[in-house]
């Protein structure tokens, strides 16, 4: 699987390259600035891009802008965005086109190699990987939303994990539930939020995120 990597800190970049290579990814380009990233994405057309938000030359949100620009040119290009902080505002911008293939994680998540690689694979497959902190913020800003408030604590946990982009199987593993029990919770959640159920994991996640972003 071809990966383009953009990260301006040398140590972290090298570390990520090692980590990705160790898991059978082919790092076709590891760049360190916004313009280089856009060029690399457009020439290599990778299966997934791992991008730091803040990059030279301006050290603002160069990485995010380059990723969004590339996705406008190549619709659905899978991008996993890494950052020292997460903002709902950025998550919304990434999700705005509603096509999936989006990840948005704190850099700390790299510490847990297994979960990080899992997230990269999920994004590459057209799924979503949202940081738990983004989802926590999203739910906090929906705390006065009637239907969300009606969820049981268990359903809330399932909703959080689902919004992060996990499949029913993964959620079951996390919460020590059978897959069918998770399925029941999901159906309840969809009923309470008045969303039409879907069997496709990715579409389901996007529907939930769109619902929570509506506020």
């Amino acid at each position: 699987m071809k990966v383009v990597l953009a990260e301006d800190l040398h140590l972290l970049r090298e570390g990520l390259v090692l980590l990705l290579r160790a898991h059978d990814f082919e790092v076709v380009a590891a760049v360190e600035s916004g313009p280089d990233l856009l060029a690399a994405l457009l020439t290599h057309r990778p299966d997934v891009a791992v991008v730091d938000v803040r990059l030279p030359p301006t050290f603002t949100d160069e990485g995010l802008q380059a990723a969004l620009a590339a996705r406008r040119k190549i619709p659905g290009l899978p991008v996993l965005v890494l950052s020292q902080h997460v903002e709902q505002l950025y998550a919304r911008e990434l999700l705005a086109d509603g096509t999936g293939g989006i990840g948005y994680l704190l850099k700390d998540r790299v510490f847990n190699a297994e979960q990080f690689i899992d997230a990269v694979r999920r994004v590459a497959a057209g799924g979503t990987a949202m940081d738990p902190e983004v989802i926590a913020k999203l739910l906090a800003s929906n705390s006065r939303n009637e239907p969300v408030a009606r969820l049981t604590p268990r359903e809330r946990e399932v909703l959080e994990l689902m919004a992060e982009g996990r499949s029913n199987a993964a959620i079951g593993q996390r919460l020590f539930l059978s897959e069918s029990a998770v399925g029941k919770h999901t159906a309840n959640i969809f009923a309470k939020l008045d969303l039409s159920p879907s069997d496709d994991d990715n579409r389901r996640v996007l529907a939930v995120l769109a619902y929570l972003n509506e506020k």
Binding site: H85, E87, Q88, L89, D108, S141, R144
Partner: protein, 490 residues
């Protein structure tokens, strides 16, 4: 009615001459005694007496002529500070008690304040100007009645004209009083320097406190955790060959510790300068705040440039604070960010129950303090029953849209014309022509009124006097407002 009232007010002001003259004489005696005979203890009561009378004048003029005259005095000296050894220092002398240094400081303050002397002079010359301007219309009516009684029908015109010009005369007198009793440019600057000093001290204080807080947070938080991470990794290194299982457990603990340290650092950074503010500027940072809030927040941003970074940061934290306050009581908030010329204006309105007030030491007072560094103000309108509207305005936060507007140039020209030419209609064409009419002039010369047909001669004279007085008043007003703006602009 307005004219009659103006006549009455003028007379009442004139009646105060009965207070002014004795006060002036007593105060003058006090000042002379304190300087010639060294009875310095008389100076303070004398000046107090003068200030009491002029304060009365300011109050009456404000009430009757609608002209607010600020007090021009320099700020009083701070009380003497006790030294570490328990003595009070005044110059090169040490005192056991603060009484004498305080007295000396107050004496110096009074003597050095030009307003002290200006007001004494005012008390001595004002009875005359007051007789002419404030009581003038009434005297003119009296003169008119006397003329009628003498069988001169023109007297009626005097009386009518006096009634007509009465409000004008009062206004001109008020402007004259403002020029004499109000603060001048230097006093304005003294006030501004004092304000800036205070703001600077507060800014430095709060900055120092902020740095201390950051230092403490780093010291107790991330720094301590990194030490723990290092120690744990060291221990794991030693166990690596003997007990790989334990080493693995230690390493995973180190990883957790470093993740916690990162989370704490993130929190800290957000409190110092939120990353989204650095990356996107004020508009998007406020949008991000709105998204994170549990309330329904409508944001409208109309800003075509980024203010200076410290301004952005102050406004961001102010809006964050207001949003937090609103989330306790309200359900819906509207935030509006816009510019008015160079001013940045932010309005935060919520639908809560209202009744918010600025409590010293509270969050709103903190916003006020933070904005004051940039000459910004917080206006809070929160009637009981709501809604609450908080408006932040920072007058010079943005760059000028265009160079100085031509209006100020035109105003300067108008001011110059008013000042330089007001004497022409007032004195020769007005007063002198009037005297020439009364006493019968041998030649007409350049006096416009004398060239007029008989019925228009007196009206011309009065129109000229009114024009001259109007120009004088205009000059004073324009000059005063230009000074105000200059004082604000620098």
């Amino acid at each position: 009615m307005k004219h009659i009232r103006a006549l009455g007010h003028g007379l009442a002001l004139f009646a105060l001459v009965l207070v002014q003259v004795p006060t002036a004489l007593i105060a003058l005696l006090g000042v002379v005694l304190s300087f010639v005979l060294g009875m310095v203890f008389l100076l303070w009561p004398s000046v107090r007496l003068v200030r009491w009378v002029t304060a009365l004048d300011r109050r009456l003029i404000n009430r009757w002529a609608g002209l607010k005259i600020e007090e021009p005095y320099n700020p009083p000296p701070p009380p003497p500070v006790r030294q570490r050894d328990g003595w009070y220092r005044d110059g090169r002398t040490l005192y056991r008690k603060p009484t004498i240094p305080a007295f000396n400081a107050r004496l110096g303050w009074l003597v050095r304040d030009p307003a002290t002397w200006k007001e004494l002079v005012w008390l001595l010359i004002d009875p005359w100007s007051r007789t002419v301007l404030a009581a003038g219309p009434t005297l003119l009516i009296g003169y008119g009645i006397y003329q009628i009684w003498q069988g001169n029908p023109w007297g009626l015109l005097f009386a009518v004209a006096a009634v007509v010009i009465a409000p004008w005369a009062l206004r001109v007198y008020a402007l004259y009083a403002m020029a004499m009793l109000g603060p001048n440019h230097a006093t304005h600057l003294v006030g501004q320097v004092r304000h800036l000093n205070q703001v600077r001290v507060e800014a430095a204080d709060s900055q120092a406190a902020e740095l201390r807080r950051i230092e403490r947070d780093l010291h107790d938080g991330a720094q301590a955790r990194m030490v723990a991470v290092g120690m744990t990794i060291g221990a794991a290194e030693q166990l690596l060959t003997t007990d790989p299982e334990a080493a693995r457990a230690l390493l995973s603990k180190a990883r957790e510790s470093s993740a916690t340290a990162l989370a704490e650092l993130r929190q800290l950074v957000r409190g110092i300068h939120p990353p989204v503010l650095a990356e996107r500027g004020l508009g998007d940072a406020i949008r991000a705040l709105a998204l994170d809030s549990p309330l329904k927040v409508d944001v409208s941003i109309d800003l075509d440039e980024r203010p200076e970074s410290p301004v952005e940061s102050a406004v961001y934290f102010a809006v964050a604070e207001l949003l937090t306050n609103a989330s306790r009581h309200a359900a819906k908030v509207t935030i509006d960010v816009s510019r008015r010329d160079r001013a940045l204006r932010v309005t935060v309105a919520d639908d809560g129950p209202g009744g918010a007030t600025v409590i010293p030491g509270g969050g709103l007072a903190g916003i006020e303090r933070r904005l004051a560094t940039f000459d910004g103000v917080l206006a809070l309108n929160s009637p009981p029953g709501g809604p609450t509207v908080a408006t932040l305005e920072l007058p010079f936060a943005l760059s000028a849209m265009e160079p100085e507007s031509p209006v100020s140039g035109r105003r300067a020209a108008a001011m110059a014309i008013c000042w330089s030419l007001c004497w022409v209609p007032l004195i020769p064409q007005g007063i002198v022509a009037g005297f020439m009419l009364i006493f019968g002039a041998p030649t007409k010369s350049w006096f416009l009124a004398l060239h007029m047909p008989a019925p228009f001669q007196w009206p011309t004279v009065f129109a000229m006097i009114a024009l001259g007085a109007g120009m004088l008043a205009g000059g004073i007003i324009l000059g005063a407002s230009a000074n105000d703006e200059k004082a604000l602009g620098c």
